[in-house]
Symmetry: C2
Subunit: 217 residues, 2 copies
DNA sequence: AATATAAAACCGAACAATCGTTCATTTTTC
DNA sequence: GAAAAATGAACGATTGTTCGGTTTTATATT
């Protein structure tokens, strides 16, 4: 049986160019890829270290040369694979002419980029249930301080805002993208999916937009 | 240590009047109560049958007189404890003068009643991760056919509707309450809770309401 | 109201399976 | 030739479930 680790490339990384990795790093990514697929299809608790090892083509003990626990694999997936590293710079650069522009542009970027990787939305559900938001909170702690200054700048520069508390604006922005992506995931998983219209991104963003903007401006 | 099962009353049932239950049924409810609390605090997979038995004050084997598997306990919790049985009649009776009335009244009933029992929203998260919506889908299958006729009646009787597809209306209604309750749960669990306003029920309902109603009516 | 009796409930020990993790050893890589 | 990676067997613990025997409960009869 051919091993899946020898390739040297990581299949779940969209940002990684075709650079030859050291054997160890390649295996580490292969473990994360396999574990992630298993977590998504079977759940975290239902996935065993032996299954992960089998999927990678590794002996059970070999995993522990790269991760010291099952928890650490999950953490590694979020740290190494989460697309926020690629999305964040684009969001920070989304400042447009008006606050409306920024809000709309940034929301579109996050939703469309995360929409390309819906597994991570699913992963966040697992994270909430299994780890009670431990890793998600860590992620938020890293992201929030970086985008808060942008909202502070927007508030100072623009006059068409109904809501002028930067932290509240940020929370509403995060709430917008999170609730959209979550709803989207529920729809695609549910038996009622046939009844629900998709591609409601623009309408959804507009709702939030009208909530923060002054009425006739 | 005193046993929790001898009381004959179920603590997690709001609908049950103070009627003395048969011993077996009392224990069954006690098992469901204990299991539910453990599932909510520890997760489904992390909760063992021994823990449930200990919490109830029962020997391990005793549980299997009432449930034939761990899965069945979870199913029992949803079937026996879910408040939809109490909420549904009130929703069906919520038909007001206009479609707007019905939509608003029904949403208020579901949100406020489910808001009293947020554990079940949390339980649905666990359900999605652990059972991939299996039990939730079963619940929806039972509820949907009962409320769809109401929307059909509303569509036929009212003229102020922008959306006239009953199934779509129903889906939007379910989406409204589900997304509100889910967001509410996320807020209360998250580290960013301080930044988020609560009690936004009216505003939230209005957003959906304006989405389905004609503009100037 | 006391008794008989079948059913339901419960106990306690045991089962087989699987879990995450460790470690001394060998192989591969750099 | 040193370091990193992979092996494979083993560990102790815990898991969900089963089962024969005992106790408690509910019901019908006296």
């Amino acid at each position: 049986m051919p091993s899946a680790i020898a390739s040297g490339y990581s299949t779940n990384d969209i940002h990684m160019p075709n650079i030859k990795l050291k054997k160890g790093e390649a295996t580490r990514h292969a473990i994360e890829d396999a574990a992630m697929n298993l977590f998504l299809t079977q759940g975290y608790a239902a996935t065993s270290m032996r299954q992960i090892a089998d999927e990678v083509g590794l002996a059970l003990g070999g995993i522990y040369n790269h991760f010291s626990s099952k928890d650490e694999i999950f953490e590694g997936i979020i740290v190494d694979k989460h697309p926020y590293k690629q999305i964040l710079p684009a969001v920070l650069a989304a400042e447009g002419e008006t606050a409306e522009d920024f809000y709309k542009n940034a929301a579109h970027i996050v939703i469309s980029e995360m929409g390309k990787r819906p597994e991570f939305v699913n992963l966040m559900f697992i994270e909430m249930v299994e780890f009670k938001g431990k890793h998600g909170a860590a992620l938020l702690k890293e992201i929030a301080p970086k985008i808060l200054p942008v909202f502070e700048r927007v508030v100072k520069a623009r006059k068409n805002l109904r809501v002028t508390n930067p932290a509240l604006l940020m929370r509403s922005f995060i709430g917008l993208v999170v609730s959209y992506l979550m709803t989207e995931m529920i729809i695609s998983n549910s038996i009622v999916s046939k009844l629900m219209p998709k591609n409601t991104e623009d309408a959804y963003i507009d709702i939030f937009l009208h909530g923060i903007l002054k009425a006739s401006e």
